[in-house]
Symmetry: C3
Subunit: 278 residues, 3 copies
């Protein structure tokens, strides 16, 4: 039975990096089915990678191995880790790139005071096990200090796909680095203050607000000096600037047949305020 | 025997959308061979998607399932359809994105007077059968109103690849939406007036003129104020601005080792006039 | 046993060209595993394609077929060739696009005096065999003069993957076109004068200098008017502008969490001078 291996990187599509990873995988496990999540993560943008991985991984079959390499710290003392959780395996540098997926797509646990937007050590989600990837038997023979995607993460993923247990790859670890995303805050009157956490290729603004923050529904969404009344059902429902529940479970702001980020002059990190109904 | 599923979308390569579709497919039909046609259709550009799909699909094996999701009307009342024709299966929103493929790469049937560039209801090609994709047994359990690529089209494609007949997916339909492309007109003296229908990544200008419009050959091609004498055999044959028969069967205008769209300041929709020989 | 076929082209990701090649392959050899190396080679940039192919191919399994189509001369008298070497097969126009791979990633043999940057006929590496791809039984039935990627190279690759020997594809040839890259020169005092041969997507500057040119180590690297003291171990080691051994075996210049090409205003072809230690 062939195993799926997904790849999420900031290596782009014009160089040899991604292909070298795929070659390393297929040299170890020729029957692996390799699927690109994206390689267009902006260089070193761990949050972008973490968001995209969290939005995609759960649609893959149980047993899938997800490799995420956005790795500005390659060759430094950051750990290489593997995590098993809910039937999925993750292989990545320990820098937070898997931490949104490991929150099941929900907000990351609140970061320690003052540490917003910095990565910090946090607990694993319930039921998860994590190991360092230190055993060189599962790496390429020559490990560079500049390209662990090819030399460590891809071979480890292939060995996992071939049936080697994660526990053999190195010692267990009990915490992983997490991205210090500010969680949405909910005022006494139910007003939700959140932020744009992702701008997609259509220019849609994905906020950090999820349905659990807005039990009574949203009456008005304010972003970039613009007030949007009520929620639309879909991108083609209504006119102009719309707010709606997006396919990854977050409140989004969009422009019908247009680009909300450009129209509103809004980018990642900008505040969004949601007034509840009633 | 593994079945091929192709994907054509405007989702780009930097988000989770395409990967979520692939995960949904592999969760249903793990042996599917998934091939990207393109995900770089400009946002909501149905004609671009339709052209690229029409130029690629016939090279795939019989039985291939082609999924095309350029879908500005997702969540509105547009239909979701499946079409079987000449041994290929197409799965898409009913908005014209499959209509150039369903014309076998030839010009679409002439659009009703006055309706040029608007989509309209047109007959299926001879031998084709089409069904709405309404049976929720072949969709994901939760269908969003914003992402039918993941929730409807990908799962339907996977079930087709796994052997479920299209006729089970929903009721038969007898017409589909077609793109109202203006067909080339041929004057009494044989002069062909056509338009640029696609600009490729090299800047080559693909016109709507096909060999059947020019039985006696082309002596002069006029576009963007430039007259090109005679046809070249290939992009490397001749110098400067060239006209030639392109690989998708249409007359093209190119610049040797250059970009015709930029050099001539011509874009999609612009007129091209072809004077026949003798 | 399924065979891997890799693809390297300048066709981009927004057109039908790559998909038509994949369809042609799968129609002949449905069990082939197709892997994209890159399709974002800048139009007609043979050196970019050659560099990326040379950096990726050796990580693939023995028996892999590598198709490289950067082909400004399609439809002219340039040859189509297949080469077998060290257990890999290469299928490409004979214009130098495989010549860096066929040098095993090392510098190409020195070009004839005065011919720098022009392609020239050069010998095959030891142990390699090459054949013209002239036998039309292994091409598509209709071969265009504009798209040999689809009509010749893809079908030939599929037949090779299916077990047809290269020797059946056409007559043997004893030389192939090589890119006339200037090799690094080493002065009497050990100073190495080389050039930037590739700028990757991070903006890292890959030079033509390899370890064999610098047996005593590098003390100072000069590029774009900037002097860099000593070598770093990785992209995250040190601050600002760094020099280090990159993952493809060449000396690179990088900026920590930045873009060296933009910061230094350096591009491909620019000179780099390396002063050895002691």
């Amino acid at each position: 039975m062939s195993c799926v291996i997904t790849l999420t990187t900031d290596f782009g599509y014009r160089d040899a990096y991604v292909a070298a990873m795929k070659g390393a995988i297929l040299s170890i496990e020729p029957s692996a089915t390799i699927v690109d999540i994206t390689h267009d993560v902006p260089p070193q943008d761990i949050l972008h990678g973490a968001f995209v991985l969290s939005a995609a991984f759960s649609y893959f079959p149980q047993g899938t191995v997800h490799v995420a390499v956005v790795d500005p710290g390659v060759g430094t003392d950051r750990l290489a880790i593997g995590v098993e959780w809910r039937g999925h395996r993750f292989v990545a540098p320990d820098n937070g790139v898997t931490s949104l997926a490991l929150a099941a797509g929900a907000d990351a646990p609140a970061s320690p005071a003052g540490a917003a937007h910095e990565a910090y050590d946090g607990p694993l989600p319930a039921g998860a096990v994590a190991h360092e990837l230190t055993d060189s038997r599962y790496h390429l023979a020559d490990v560079s200090s500049t390209f662990h995607g090819r030399d460590i993460f891809a071979p480890v993923a292939a060995h996992l796909a071939a049936g080697v247990p994660l526990s053999r790859m190195g010692p267990a670890v009990s915490s992983v680095r997490r991205l210090g995303l500010a969680s949405p805050s909910v005022d006494k009157d139910g007003t939700v203050r959140c932020a744009v956490i992702h701008v997609d290729g259509f220019g849609n603004l994905v906020t950090s607000a999820r349905r659990e923050h807005l039990s009574s529904g949203a009456c008005e969404v304010e972003v970039g000096g613009r007030r949007i009344a009520g929620l639309s059902r879909s991108y083609g429902d209504g006119e102009g600037v719309l707010a709606l529940w997006g396919s990854a479970g977050y409140l989004e702001v969009a422009v019908k047949n247009g680009n909300a980020a450009r129209t509103l002059g809004v980018s990642r990190g900008d505040e969004v305020v949601i007034t509840p109904c009633g």
